[in-house]
Amino acid sequence: MKKKSTTKRIAKPSVKKIKEVPSDLWNLKLYVAGQTPKSIAAFQNLTKICEKYMLCRYKIEVVDLLENPQLAKGDQILAVPTLVRKLPVPVRKIIGDLSNTERVLVGLDLRPAK
């Protein structure tokens, strides 16, 4: 079983929820403003983390605010890049280029804050 994996603490509830919500367990939105180095880095860092910790059960939506500025208001975006965890609730916000993996995991509730 997957109990022995390194992510055993989160793997267990994840498995449970997979049964209830088979798709889109992790619904993530990444807000960026244009193709800046920071936003590209953020996207790359995010996909890496998702691959590793969410086992493909995730969906990332990238919102470019330069194209859709009105979308910034809904999620109260101020800083970019901002990653918003829409699902599972509660909504979480992570700002920055996501280079600090530890903090991203804490921010996504994948790891408890110390």
């Binding site: 403003a33 101020l78 970019v80 909504v91 280029d97």
Partner: protein, 569 residues
């Protein structure tokens, strides 16, 4: 060269300004805020920063057709709309008409995890979007410092804010940025370092339990501005800033004269009464009849058909009307006709500035020709003499500029010199009536004189001031034997004088009669002597005649005798 430079600055062509539309603020900034530049408004909590910023936008929409964007970091749009609705701003309507865009930026520190490099492009995008959709010319960021508590890494923030202000300038929008006042600095996070074109400081001070809001322009690059602290207040129509003194002493001077309603007083005032638009001060100790004079003047003004505003700081309207009846003045019909408007408030009800503004508003609403302030000395309860003097000066200037005649009464305390008003306002008054009471012979009487009356030949006489149920009358005081008598003493002295005069006239009569009698005696004697003389003369004359006849007879007899004797001779 220096001169031409100065002139340039004074006439101010170099710097374009945007009128805020806030009463008084445009005056002290010399035309408004710097156009296309950010202005920092700082102050402690509750001093009206948000309101000032909001009014800037609302006036922009209403009066200058300039749309605005309000980015709030502390309140959401609904709360904001409700808060400013109390000031009569219907921002909901402007929002639906796309004249105003309210963007609530909410940041919760606990919900945010920082994971690396970031910038505030999101805010820029939102602002840009808002400015584009409304075509905004005015932008408010209220209170941007909330970002410091909401976002980690102040270094990034500072750099981003600097970029934001530069960006706002590039956009050409006139912006107001509000900030909380810090310890020893203008703002808590040193925003004045970035926004340095114009800094306005708001302040809220409490002196003797009465609060006054004040505004000061700390700096204004490239423009002259008033440097004083200007009191301002927030009333149901927004912010009103009061420039402390009027800009110029250029009010019109009417030559029209107004009757005071007391005939004798008019005579004392050069025969015609006060000038229209002049300021009259009635000062005196307690119970000398200041309010009675005020009522007479109010009555006279209403009789002329002029509207009159009575600011009563001591008595209620009903009390004044009742008291007026006791001296034969019925003010009630005028109130019913709408010619007389009473405004009764305790001075301690609110601060001096609020009083001033409420009077301003009343004057603008009621458009009176005549304003009575009874008494002004009560204002010292809520401000120092200098402040009250300042306030009255502004009030009188305001009234004079509109050609409104004003009457202020002032209570002088018994212990202080009589020719000194409590608030030292005599120098700004055109006419000054002084009421005094004199105690003599176990009674108090009132006397009045005109201490000054600019621009007219006025009486220098002291008059007794008599209040009866027919109103006020002025009578001559009794001046005689080096003394001034009033009241009963005057009456006594008068009757005494009368008796003396009577006695004197009787004496003269007696002397005249005696002279007459003497003359008659003399005349009688003269006629008696003459009669005696006449009879004597007659007697003597006849005796002489007899002698002559006798002589003739004797001579004739002798001739005959000789003839008879045949004398030879």
């Amino acid at each position: 060269m220096a001169k031409s430079k100065l002139n340039k600055v004074l006439s101010g062509p170099g710097l374009a300004k945007v009128r805020t539309g806030i009463q008084g603020l445009d005056e002290i900034t010399g035309g408004g805020l710097p156009k296309g530049r950010p202005t920092l408004v700082c102050g402690s909590a509750g001093c009206g920063k948000t309101l000032l910023a909001m009014e800037f936008l609302v006036r922009g929409v209403q009066e200058y057709n300039e749309p605005g964007v309000f980015v709030c970091f502390e309140e959401n749009a609904d709360e904001l709309a409700k808060n400013v609705a109390s000031l009569g701003f219907n921002i909901q309507d402007m929002v639906t008409k796309k004249k105003l865009f309210i963007d609530y930026v909410y940041i919760e520190r606990s919900e945010i995890e920082e994971t690396g490099e970031y910038d505030l492009e999101g805010l820029f995008v939102r602002l840009d979007h808002a400015i584009r959709t409304t075509g905004a010319k005015r932008v408010v960021l209220d209170t941007i410092e909330a970002l410091f508590s909401g976002l980690p890494n102040p270094n990034i923030l500072r750099a981003e804010l600097r970029r934001l202000f530069r960006w706002l300038k590039e956009k050409g929008v006139t912006a107001i940025i509000t900030a909380e006042r810090g310890e020893g600095t203008l703002t808590r996070h040193g925003l004045e370092e970035y926004v340095a074109d114009c800094v306005i400081m708001l302040d809220h001070r409490i002196t003797e339990q009465i609060s006054t809001r004040r505004m000061r322009i700390v700096k204004y690059r490239g423009s002259l501005h008033g440097t004083n602290e200007y009191p301002f207040l927030i009333d149901e129509q927004g912010i009103v800033v009061m420039p402390v003194t009027s800009v110029s002493l250029a009010h019109p001077a009417s030559t029209e004269r107004l009757s005071s309603g007391i005939p004798r007083l008019d005579i004392m005032l050069g025969g015609k009464g006060f000038y229209r638009g002049s300021s009259v001060l009635v000062s005196g100790t307690a119970g000398t009849g200041k309010t009675s004079i005020a009522m007479h003047l109010a009555n006279a003004a209403c009789k002329r058909g002029e509207s009159c505003l009575y600011l009563a700081a001591e008595e209620s309207m009903n009390q004044i009307i009742r008291n007026g009846r006791s001296i034969g003045i019925n003010l009630e019909p005028w109130v019913k006709k709408g010619l007389l408007y009473f405004h009764s408030t305790r001075p301690t009800f609110y601060g001096l500035e609020m009083h001033l503004v409420s009077i301003h508003k009343l004057v603008l609403e009621q458009k009176p020709k005549f304003v009575i302030f009874d008494p002004v000395s009560n204002l010292t309860a809520i401000g120092s003499n200098a402040e009250v003097q300042n306030m009255l000066m502004r009030l009188l200037d305001f009234l004079k500029a509109r050609g409104i005649t004003s009457l202020c009464t002032s209570l002088t305390h018994g212990s202080s010199p009589i020719e000194m008003t409590e608030v030292g306002i005599s120098s700004i008054m055109d006419s000054w009536l002084l009421l005094r009471e004199s105690e003599y012979n176990g009674e108090r009487t009132r006397v009045m004189y005109i201490l000054k009356s600019r621009g007219m030949a006025h009486s220098n006489q002291v008059r007794e001031f008599v209040i009866s149920n027919k109103g006020i009358d002025l009578t001559d005081v009794y001046v005689g034997a080096g003394m001034v008598y009033t009241g009963a003493a005057r009456l006594m002295q008068e009757s005494k004088d009368e008796a003396e005069t009577f006695a004197r006239s009787q004496e003269t009569g007696r002397l005249k009669m005696e002279l007459d009698r003497n003359r008659k005696i003399m005349d009688a004697k003269i006629s008696e002597l003459r009669a005696e003389y006449d009879s004597k003369e007659q007697e003597l004359k006849s005796a002489i005649l007899q002698q002559e006849i006798k002589d003739k007879i004797l001579a004739a007899d002798r001739g005959i005798l000789a003839k008879k004797r045949k004398a030879d001779a």
